[in-house]
Homo-oligomer: 320 residues x 2
């Protein structure tokens, strides 16, 4: 199923989220308006807002709370990307030049802060201390996870457990905020909040594994950023870890991290593609997706529940 | 009156705020704990937490809400300093090396984000959507103000109005958050919330004017950072503006901004000190302090109200 079909139960409201995101560029200062409208121009696939709204459809779906929450989750995501790009000195994102590459790191830092602030204003509009607290805890998880990733860059001594913890912090925690807050704000029973947390946690991990796979298998056109970015940044992802496990004696990832010789990146990608590693990674991602869906039968059988199943399916089919 | 005496009505609770700030470094990751404990080691004079607690003393003083608010305000302040130092490439702050100078800009960005997140968790603990919203709005004001300051650097065409707007964003907005939230969380009548907003707005402007004066009149030892930093960063402050107004034809600030020749910084400081400019700036700051206090008579006559008067007095006496 395509995203378009998956989003059907909440499509009108996702459009409202898109409008609300664009409206943050309506500010008095012309230069700030220009930068903001650039930031929100390409807002990605909207998976995080969808993950906020879809769980709501099975209970008391009230846009008064769900709309600002969905906006908030997407703004927090955008803010973290703006800071990540400054940290990684990335030149392109979603096919367009990054804020740091156009206006410099200083503006990227402040623009990210401004977006966090707007995300905070939006989550405050839910008037629900529990999700507001969860929102801030998630930001703490994301930023401490990024600190860990940055400090661990070019470090070969990393366990798989460390990898899963890292991608939980970086991606799954925000998916989990989206699904949990959707459940909480629609007054779902507590056990359903737990089910939606499990869904978000596991789907987020699967999503990031697939993203890490695509950094080996995709093209710059399709991704909107260069392939091999993770290795360039010294970030060990699942495919690179499997490559190291399988070829411990003579390995381009080890050579890259030890010598900094970038020619090893193309070699690593080639070796990964020539092996069964990609298939094995998809298998692991697929297990996380099954895990994500395992208790969805506890929520009412609605079109939005079908969308949650379909979304899990969609995540592991990306790029295959 | 010294700060110590001014703080008497809330001193025990300011110690609790200090303990809570230090406790944020209790995290599992050793390197994060190390960085955090470094960040909260030198926490300044505690004027913002005091501005949160003091207004509460005249009404329903409940630490359940006021304590996390005071912690939140100080954490937000610390987070903005960490980012500002990265932007300004500052080497020292409060007499110790900055995060960016020790661990690099990347860690400074992420550490600032982490501190924003902890500030957000803390404000969520007030369980009061109104102050939570105000908190996020303040962060938006601060960061958009910083964007304006950064974009306006080395620009000679700036009005005094622009200066006041800039220092409102940068400093007074946070003072105002502190005093307003203190009033709101202690269930003060609405007119008192307004009085405390006026107090915070005006005291903050006075405080920043004095800070800008000290950048001309103080010493590196006393300030914990080099004198003349504002001119070095291309930031026009009140003393520099008055100097330009008085010596329009041959002015070191104009030469500095136009040619980048740093020898003009010492010359500008010398000319300011040889004129009546410093006295005139203190006079303006003093008017803002009077403005701050003008409606304090509407709140009950308590020792904490005396402290608010005394604090306004203290602000304009700094460095004189």
């Amino acid at each position: 199923m395509e995203l378009e079909q998956i989003y059907v139960p909440v499509q009108d409201d996702l459009n409202r989220v898109g409008d609300a995101l664009k409206s943050i560029s309506h500010v008095d200062f012309a230069w700030l308006a220009e930068q903001l409208s650039y930031v929100v121009k390409e807002t990605g696939k909207g998976i995080r807002p969808a993950l906020t709204l879809l769980p709501g459809k099975s209970y008391e779906y009230d846009l008064t709370y769900l709309l600002p929450m969905a906006v908030s989750v997407e703004l927090m995501h955008t803010a973290t990307l703006v800071h990540d790009d400054a940290i990684d000195k990335a030149l392109t994102r979603r096919g367009q030049a990054t804020i740091n590459s156009i206006w410099g790191d200083e503006i990227a830092i402040l623009m990210g802060d401004y977006l966090f602030a707007k995300a905070g204003e939006s989550v405050a509009d839910t008037r629900t201390p529990r999700v507001i607290k969860l929102f801030s805890q998630t930001l703490a998880t994301i930023s401490s996870g990024e600190i860990g990733q940055f400090r661990g860059a070019f470090n070969l001594e990393q366990s798989r457990e460390n990898y899963y913890r890292r991608i939980y912090s970086k991606t799954a925690s925000l998916f989990s905020l989206a699904t949990q807050s959707g459940a909480i704000l629609s007054r779902s029973p507590e056990e359903v909040v737990t089910v939606m947390k499990e869904y978000g946690d596991n789907l987020g991990i699967a999503f990031q594994i697939v993203d890490d796979i695509l950094d080996f298998t995709s093209t710059e056109e399709a991704m909107g950023k260069p392939v091999g970015s993770d290795l360039t940044q010294g970030t060990l992802t699942l495919p690179a870890m499997l490559l190291m496990e399988r070829y411990p004696d003579d390995n381009p990832v080890v050579r890259l991290f030890e010598t900094g010789d970038k020619s090893n990146i193309a070699r690593a990608i080639e070796m990964v593609l020539d092996s069964t590693i990609i298939g094995d990674c998809y298998k692991i991602a697929s297990e996380y997706c099954s895990q994500a869906c395992q208790n969805l039968n506890l929520i009412p059988d609605t079109p939005s529940r079908e969308s949650l199943y379909a979304l899990a399916d969609y995540v592991i089919k990306q790029g295959t």
